[in-house]
Amino acid sequence: MNGVHDMGGMQGFGPVRPEANEPLFHAPWEREALAITVAMGACGQWNIDISRSARESLPPAQYLGSTYYAIWLAGLEKLMLQRGMVNATELQTGQAHNPPLPGVRRLDAAQTAQALAQGTASTRAIDRQPRFAVGQRVRARQIHPSGHTRLPRYVRGHTGTVERVHGAHVFPDTRVGRTVPPFVDDAHWLYTVVFDGQDLWGSSASTGLLVSVDAWEPYLEAVEAAP
């Protein structure tokens, strides 16, 4: 989706403002919002791409006007409302009125450290060979899907060079296709593709700029044969 979350190259936000000795959380609720979001991420009712999609499809003014933890919270509430895990009254009152949705996995304290230390691999086995090779010139496709994608607008239509091949990773664009488990789990080869800053931005680019994105094979088309 061509949303406001896709910020690369937007202008007018002002300077980056690093904060000296920044605290990990700026309010008590941020600490809880982080923990709840991470713990609920294990509930099995969505995956990381569905949760990203929920955040980036918030109303644009809300997205731009919210701190990041507030975006997380709004995304989490939206996911749970969509699935009937909670309703609006329950969210308002903090008290359950309906029985819980069956099949929701609860991350227990005893498993939590292990779950965090293990993470969730996005690599998958694949029975196809990669279409592209390191050094090959490729073009980021001129696509504008209305749903979730991880191909940023600023590279679309531009030609770059394959720099790395990362193996096959689960493909975000189709992984959001089913909102309840079992989720779609298509894998495609993933590449680091590097672009010249001048090609992307003309004379507005910083001097001597190279920018890469990590792009799944369906995002790319060949402009020359493999070297």
């Binding site: 979350h5 910020m7 690369g8 190259g9 937007m10 936000f13 300077p15 980056v16 403002r17 690093p18 904060e19 920044e22 990990l24 309010a27 609720w29 600490r31 809880e32 923990a35 709840i36 991470v38 713990a39 609920m40 509930c43 990381i48 990203r52 955040r55 919270l73 509430e77 895990m85 909670v86 308002q92 903090g94 008290q95 359950a96 819980p100 929701v104 609860r106 991350l107 227990d108 304290a109 939590t112 450290a113 965090l116 230390a117 293990q118 993470g119 996005s122 991880r150 940023p152 600023y154 990773h169 680091t192 507005s204 680019a205 910083s206 700029l209 190279l210 920018v211 890469s212 994105v213």
Partner: protein, 216 residues
Amino acid sequence: MTQEHHAHSHDHHNDHSHLSEMDVRVRALQSLLVEKGYLDPAALDVVIETYEHQVGPHNGARVVARAWSEPAFFDWLMRDATAAIADMGYTGRQGEHMVAVANTPQTHHMVVCTLCSCYPWPVLGLPPVWYKSAPYRSKAVMDPRGVLADFGVQVGDEVTLRVWDSTAEVRYLVVPMRPAGTEAWTQEQLATLVTRDSMIGTGTALTPSALTGAAA
């Protein structure tokens, strides 16, 4: 009051106007999810303990210090960062697939996530607010030299600026250049020079004299 201080107090003012409302909302959410049986409150304590006290940029600093000290480890880190970093015990969420990139006199690396907030948690912990902010996400891919100027860092025009936009599940760690005058330093000492920002690419490692100044 400097302009920067003014901007920050303004931001904090905005936060405070939401503080009690947000606190109430999150408390309500938490008790609802516990009552529904979706959430184990003790699991929240483990998450917070992990990212407040165990996982943070001190992990990444140890990786960099070892890479500076042991050429074989540096080679491994460049070849298979996931395995090399796991060898030091740093694994897990938002660091499942790691790539390390090393700064040189010719190339300065910088990492961003223009689409959200992707960040290598096992080595750097939770991202700072600026990393997730619109100014950084918008500017880093077009004007990284301007970003560096915002951080008070200058990189010569002869140096290539190499920006990595973390658009997939690969997470990037920058290995900054080792400061001069540290040849005899132990890894533990070297790690004190490695700042979080130097591992994102919005800073450089501290020099020994800057470290003394910072400690003073």
